[in-house]
Symmetry: C2
Subunit: 249 residues, 2 copies
DNA sequence: AAGTGGTCTAGACCACCGC
DNA sequence: CGGTGGTCTAGACCACTTT
């Protein structure tokens, strides 16, 4: 008898445009999330699993690898593949605060404080890899969740990347607007730190003077390696934290 | 003529125990880091590259994928593979503060404030997935770099994971000691936030009262899915920040 | 010695992009 | 349309872990 008969019940759809390895990975993830495969369980080996699901070993490996990279499974040569003994997984990777809040079931709202085009200052030009003085869109927005201020966000984008309408910015996240404009962000270099709030920040965020803020500075690149966004955001330390899952590769 | 002749100069060693895909990836990375392949350059397609290096296409793909995951390359179907237009990459993944400081050329030092075994309190037991009251090692350490305080670190480990000697803790990082003990950390769930320093923290860290601190709470799992460490660390916001590279997968 | 995951191959077909 | 990366296969051999 197999250690995990639940896996044998997975069926793949070869007529679907969804890749086989992804179908398998998602079904496995569902079985793990639902508890049908318990935390700590050891899976059958790759060859048995591949046979049970009717896919090749490389495809099965790829599905497993996908979940290993997301921290749901761990594997050790000569030993086997096991489900990690974690209750909740929040393997966020590249996401925006807007998306995060929606996922958390909060009601996000955005107030646009500034949205204008002007010449890039040196710091911005350096971060974006463009010439100083080149036109950039400068944004400043206040993000609220359930009408409570959460973050103050300052962004700069090369003017040729995106045309911005204030109305759009109040109803959609910046990343969503970029996606709609055909800009696909693939890589971001981030730096996360902490500092005390300035009086102006404290006022906008509804914090006391000198409150601890979480700061995040980011430069994002699209799928042709072009810098498309530079942002400096500050979050209320009392109301927000970054959660992430790191995996050794 | 190829767009990047430098790649053709890569030679692989088939007698080496280092995997072929890794040899190729490292050589590519070196060529990019040294500037022999400039930022923004488009590489030849996979099949040409594979032929030039004398490896199969899957192996070549794997090498490229490795660098894509690390944010050095971006690829787009129907278009090609390009070098990202970033100057410096610091794609830290799963690492310890000790390792970070060594890499940055700083001189780290550790003072052990507490190292004792006792029963797990509820918060700790929950995080580690063990029974409340089970024996855990409790550590509190002050990390300094060039004799300047940087962080105050509190850790809990199940008592059966590691025997601890205070002397070891002052000369080696916790993760290094775990590695030596045969514990291989694979996954960590982290939460990063900010808050104001308590008077005791301010005193230990040499900060003013209410200074902004960067907080990191982490639970780490080894390669058989077992929780092996729970830690709550606070860093001086004025002296430390997390840098990371995120890649959409 | 037996069982596991890790690597590598040669080839096929498909989906997407830009001309 | 031609060129690119994305997926999938069947099989081989190897390295590591445990018994």
């Amino acid at each position: 008898m197999a250690t995990t008969d639940a896996v044998a019940g997975i069926a793949v759809d070869r007529t679907s445009p969804v890749p086989l390895y992804f179908q398998v990975a998602q079904e496995l993830q569902r079985l793990i999330a639902s508890g049908e495969i318990e935390a700590g369980t050891r899976l059958d080996n790759e060859i048995v699993l591949a046979d049970q699901l009717g896919v090749s070993r490389p495809t099965m490996r790829r599905a497993i690898q996908y979940l290993v990279e997301r921290g749901l499974l761990v594997r050790k040569r000569g030993v086997g593949t096991q489900v990690v003994r974690t209750s909740v997984q929040r393997p966020l990777e590249l996401s925006s605060l807007y998306d995060d809040l929606v996922l958390a079931g909060r009601r996000p709202r955005t107030t646009v404080i500034a949205a204008e085009t002007g010449p890039a200052e040196d710091e911005v030009a350096t971060a974006l890899g463009i010439d100083p003085g080149a036109p950039v869109v400068h944004l400043q927005r206040l993000r609220l969740a359930d009408d409570e201020p959460i973050a103050l966000m300052t962004n700069y984008l090369p003017a040729d990347v995106l045309e911005l309408a204030t109305a759009d910015l109040e109803t959609r996240g910046l990343y969503e607007l970029l996606r709609i404009a055909g800009v696909h962000i693939r890589i971001a270099n981030q730096s996360i730190g902490a500092r005390n709030a300035t009086p102006a920040e404290a006022r906008l965020l509804g914090e006391t003077r000198g409150a601890a803020l979480l700061t995040m500075t980011r430069t994002a690149y699209d799928d042709i390696g072009r810098a498309v966004e530079y942002g400096t955001h500050v979050y209320r330390g009392s109301r927000y934290a970054f959660s992430l899952t790191l995996v050794e590769r």
